[in-house]
Symmetry: D2
Subunit: 348 residues, 4 copies
């Protein structure tokens, strides 16, 4: 058997980072991952159990301070970044220069169009190098870009909402069956882990429980990803995120009009053909629709639909676990593609 791959993860202390740590620690193709906290963060936790007491019973995972020397010393070939966008922009050029491949879970490298990137605000302090690398980064949705990911040095792991919306719409849009003039609506609902681990008035239990709210209407950062990947004009899409009183999971209810009448069987074929040969998308036949519970704790994206009796109004429902297919699981899937392994490895 070939030698195991050496990986490192910077940013294990968020929700996605924790999931990624668990997946990396169990992946059969990997050496024990090197878990890093930010350089200079001397007062930071030395064990992930300090941040996540749930890990205390198992001894947790040691965290070391980041340095490039440490990465080289460990022979790290692949670096996962679960860091703020600007940190990722700053680190990746050096990683590329050192020949370390990167899977970045932030929004730093997902967007090709400058105007879309503006929402992140990292460009003011961006290096020239970072600007040049933007074009080389591959948007890491394996169902859409397997070949490019396989050869990529830098993979931009998609946003959680974007994953749920793009996978549900790509088959229809690529098949050209949607009346884009009537507009596409994605009403997306997410569990609270999607809002991050930082405590805030918004994520306080009392604010979330017994409640439901829309937020970032018309200005959520994932909008750019959806537009770019689906090649939609901004006026053709309304994407509205909602916060739901559940810890994890995303359900997107997507509304389109078909440009000509189709039968349910034709719509189903459109989905099934598009995802033929992939392993992490499950298509539900009508009248069955996916629910958030079905995909929780899995890497699946579940897709179902309902067609009106005019055979043109179409509702598509897609569900993912925002921390798995929407973040850490997809990162593992991307790694599997990058190294030519079975896409299911380490994810079942």
């Amino acid at each position: 058997m070939t030698a195991k791959l050496r990986t490192a993860l910077l940013g294990a202390t968020g929700y996605s980072g924790l999931e990624l740590t668990r997946l990396l620690a169990c992946h059969p193709r990997l050496e024990k991952p090197l878990l890093l906290r930010r350089e200079g963060d001397a007062s930071g936790p030395s064990n992930l159990a300090e941040v996540f007491p749930a890990l205390a019973g198992n001894g947790g995972y040691p965290l070391e301070s980041f340095s490039w020397d440490k990465l080289r010393g460990h022979g790290v070939d692949l670096l996962f970044l679960a860091t703020p966008h600007a940190v990722s922009r700053a680190l990746v050029p050096e990683a590329m220069a050192r020949g370390v491949r990167v899977i970045d879970l932030s929004g730093a490298w997902r967007l090709k169009i400058e105007q879309n990137r503006a929402v992140y605000g990292f460009e003011d302090q961006d290096s020239q190098l970072a600007g040049q690398l933007t074009g080389q980064a591959v948007y890491g949705l394996p169902e859409l870009a397997r070949a490019q990911i396989a050869n990529a040095s830098l993979v931009a792991n998609p946003g959680c909402y974007a994953t749920s919306v793009i996978l549900a719409l790509a088959p229809l849009i690529r098949a050209g069956v949607i009346d884009r003039q009537k507009g596409v609506v994605s009403d997306s609902k997410s569990g609270v882990s999607g809002a991050g681990k930082e405590p805030s008035a918004r994520t306080h239990f009392v604010s979330v429980a017994d409640n439901l709210s829309a937020y970032s209407v018309f200005d959520h950062r994932h909008t750019g990803e959806i537009l770019e990947q689906l090649q939609l004009h901004s006026q053709e899409l309304i994407f509205t995120p909602h916060l739901v009183p559940i810890p994890r999971g995303i359900l997107s209810t997507i509304y389109v009009h078909l440009s000509r009448p189709m039968s349910p069987a034709q719509v189903e074929s459109c989905f099934r053909e598009f995802f033929a040969g992939t392993c992490w998308v499950r298509i539900f036949s009508p009248p069955q629709l996916p629910q958030i519970q079905f995909s929780l704790h899995t890497n699946y994206c579940d897709i179902g639909f309902c067609l009106a009796d005019d055979h043109q109004r179409l509702v598509v429902v897609s569900c993912i676990d925002n921390l798995l297919k929407g973040a850490a699981g997809q990162a593992i899937q991307n790694m599997n593609v990058m190294y030519g392994w079975n896409e299911k490895e380490g994810l079942t």
Copy 2:
């Protein structure tokens, strides 16, 4: 001071019935309401506390077996029905004949168009009288039909989803500012009390918690009400209900395209002018949007909106407490209108 009104309620044992019982018991214009269980239901509970143990501490509310004689004996002038649709169809003609006014919380009298009524399936066993009464029933949304309600003998209390959708859309549709060709989408989310008190696999805590699901896509019974009240064609609307892990509350996220660009101020004026002179609708100015928590345990319908920078794509958010403005509270409001009282009475 004038004599207090004598009321009766048949069907106190559901969630809406319980809320209505509480409101009737506290309303300053009413005698103690007569609470009734179905005729012949001798083995039924004799006190509402048998059904809702939460009431045990206060002695609960006695329930008596229904009979027309009892109603006459108590001098009941107004009868509230929180009964199954078919029961309401059967009882109302007799009430009308006896000069008893009725506010019916079921779906029995809401729909004028026969095809829309078909979803309830009560017409097979319908009496001729019931058929004739259909046209006289007034759809009880006071913000839209105050004058007719004031004079009505039979008020059909609106459905909970329908209330949240109609109030949010009526100002725009009546002002003629919506591009109806592009379609109207209402993505509506409801707490579990909306699914009724009958235990089922669907309402089991384990099925609902940590979950979210769409249901009855394209065939929910409230669709007909929305279409009729807004005078939309069925192909112009997609209405999708969702079940949310909260006990009560509805949030509808509504998507429309304006037929010509408007400013946010113009949109806000459209809402404010429409509801001028009413007391149970609150308009939120951008960027503030209502959340479910804001209207819980109140009779308010909260409405806010967000306009895209193309000044045409418009997202409207409306929230109600499904058991109050969506059922029992609205019934009280209708009663207040029917008897010429302040619309706020008994609701604050």
Copy 3:
């Protein structure tokens, strides 16, 4: 009719403060309350709706900066403090000097025994005056000390946990029927609003949901109140708080051994006699036990019990809404007692 009372509230921005604001605003015996933020806190919110967006729809409540002159200018007779313990220690002596009566919701004045007060740590910076006032403060549990409260200038509103435990145990302990040698256990469970409004890792939705945890075992600050009011030795009590994934409510399950066998009827009489003449405690007859839902949004303390067939092992269950009978509601009740009004006023 006599003139209405002028009140002020300092500290409306916490959960208890919000509840108290709502209650004060509706109380029929009161002028509109003066709502104050801390002196010098110029950058603080000028309206409570900035802190609680749920209030936005109603216009919220204006907040003014605190000063003694302002209190005098408004002719304030009664000041409610929902402030940190040390702030309350600092302000109350001045209020007393100015003849303003105080109901304090903090822990600053509840404890007579110095050792118990130590847990709050305010004594280091305590003034001599404050030390002297400690003895004059009345512990504001009206069911136990109505007469003293009526005449008090300074009422220390009890802690939420303490209220639920003391009310459940006082009848048994005062009747001398408990075998104190075997120890008293209170296993208490609270909703998250009890942990305060400040966001923290502990109150993050993802930490609380799908979880349950014990905390502050043997060192919760309310222990001293319970011991003092029940005149128990510290070794006779184990009090263990738990955090439950609900927004509000407390349920205490209390375990005692009777010193001699009693019948259920005798136990029930013990409770009923003790609370005869009070209006905010509801006794449940076996086998009915109170649940948290029953007392939510009310000022009731609900008490039930279950006696083993040895007629000695006794489980008492008590429930309150931690923000009402456990805080703001009890403060109103204390005010009603202090001014000789019906104890129910403003609370139904």
Copy 4:
């Protein structure tokens, strides 16, 4: 490698059955398990996905009608029963006669003392054979009875509450350090899956959410198991179950008095020594206490404690996932012991 074991499961349609199905399907030592529905239940589901729609995306699991011939045809060596108590009493004698080993998840075979068994009410219709088998059944808590389980033909899988209480108390009671005269209290809290899958008023989302309640005080069926396994007299124990608004997990807060003062280190040693050599119990060092989240989706029983400064009052906290260590996971662990496999197999 040796041939894989052939197993069958009767009763896959409950929550424990579903978990067990998933675990059996992935266990590396097993052939694909035979999933059975009750004999004669011809109208029953033919696939588990009909009962649990979450399985639809994966094709689910086929269910066949039970018959002894089918078991023999498949060469089943080990039969899991997740059936009602009386069904298990009726089936096991035949299984024993046919040389099929059984792990029974019901309460049918857990109790040696007739009086304790009476709570199940199955003895009226019990066969003579069943009565004789009672003595041979081994209580399947591997941490207490590994050797007997290894040789058992019939293993009675423990109750979920019982597992959490017995594991937390056995080290202390066997070490003789508890003052039993002062009594032992277990205040236990369970998620709703513990109440079973059958919909009822009690498990309706609206009854459970925002609520907490004690139930079956002094008469819960698991009490007998706890008494028997810990050799306590009934008067020495108070066990109170509570229903918590979470889908799964149990936390037991256990109160004891030590018969002589001990240090925290001595208490910790007592636990660590007792569980030395086992793999599914995690001991937490003070001040760390387990929380329900920590053991969810694992087979661990987590145990922590807090000792008062009198070194005698002791609070022990234990947590399990009620469907894993409290049911299906423990069944797998028992199988591993019965067949001499590593106790972790199929559980990580």
